[in-house]
Symmetry: C2
Subunit: 227 residues, 2 copies
């Protein structure tokens, strides 16, 4: 059985609105429900766990109750950081039956069921796999206000989500982790630190993270286009 953990506890401080960004509406529906729909439609996922701040949990459950979310099994209160939130989601997984855990940002509603399935399939082979896209701009390594070097574009990828792992591997990675480390921006980096191989799965640049007001503008248009 494969489980999705949807990280929805972020406060969205970069977004001007009063509500956390995962509840902002996209075409009349809160972003998080677009995201959940992709996981509902993916045959490789059997259960969904949503990690959400305690303050938002009641409102979320009320909205969720009106939708047909067959796979949504648990709503878990979030922690102080993203990593602590994902760890709490992980602790809610029934470990006797789980194979792969897919961690996904609630604010990435454009992931497709096909991308989720491909990333899970890669994790079943390699133990760990993340969805990625190619950067658009030239990327520089910098230090003390100056360029150190230009990174080869072919050697770089942007880390998207889902990030998929064999359950035991991700548990082991979290045992070594300081979940309050602000540099911990994804699960893959924890598994990398163990020296384990993390495969990459090429995904679409459409799968944006909605963190700034202009992202929401772009998202509205992506929803109704064939880009």
């Amino acid at each position: 059985m494969n489980v999705a953990i949807i990280a929805a506890a972020g406060q969205g401080l970069r977004m001007a609105g009063k509500r956390p960004k995962q509840f902002l509406e996209l075409a009349g529906t809160p972003i998080i429900f677009h995201t959940l729909q992709a996981f509902e439609q993916c045959d490789s996922i059997q259960e969904i766990i949503v990690v959400i701040s305690a303050a938002e949990a009641a409102g979320f459950l009320s909205l969720a109750g009106k939708r047909e979310l067959r796979k949504l099994r648990k709503v878990v209160p979030g922690g102080a950081t993203r990593a602590e939130s994902v760890l709490r989601g992980l602790q809610a997984v029934r470990e006797t039956t789980v194979e792969i855990v897919a961690v996904h940002d609630a604010v990435r509603p454009f992931v497709t069921a096909e991308e989720i399935a491909r990333t899970i399939a890669a994790a079943q082979v390699d133990g760990a796999a993340i969805l990625v896209s190619s950067p658009v701009d030239t990327v520089k390594e910098i230090r003390d206000g100056a360029v150190v070097r230009t990174l080869r574009r072919d050697d770089l990828r942007n880390a998207l989500t889902p990030q998929c792992f064999r359950y035991k591997l991700l548990r082991r990675a979290y045992e070594q982790a300081d979940v309050f480390d602000p540099e911990l921006t994804d699960e893959s980096s924890l598994v990398e630190r163990l020296g384990e191989r993390v495969a990459i799965v090429e995904g679409s640049a459409r799968n944006i993270k909605i963190t700034r007001p202009e992202d929401l503008v772009l998202a509205e248009r992506l929803l109704t286009s064939d880009f």
Copy 2:
């Protein structure tokens, strides 16, 4: 005297339209004229050279003639690559009077006069300076279909334009360059190869490069918003 070289010879193959992307309209005006306006308004720039494909030059001049572009001095036919085009622009500079050359992508219309002035000022101090922004996603170094490592986000910047250099330094950099090298995506990398310091100037992520259809959608909204 400081000169801007506007690189407008790109064919925009990633854009579906028939016209090169710098001529696609943004709010009724071809993108390149939005870009030129920022350089017209910047007091640190005295001359503008536009490098454009021979096929587009006549049409561009006809449109440019209807606008008040006081600083536009030369229109130079482009080369086979971006680097060859910029080199041709550089060869059109009057070297007796020039101090700083500011190279800019025609398809970055959201640069501000203030950002141009700050980048030029930094190049006057350091010899070379580029406008940059911070990446949004976590960036991975990859090899053979797997992650090699996670790059520290604080150590990375996306290279934007303008990229500004003392004229003699950029000439020297181009003397060493293979302008047909497909990995040559910006001028800064040529100067880096000389071992010279390239300063970074923090700019806005609004300064996007319009290369894909969704960029044009976002650009329309950026134009009318306060993001």
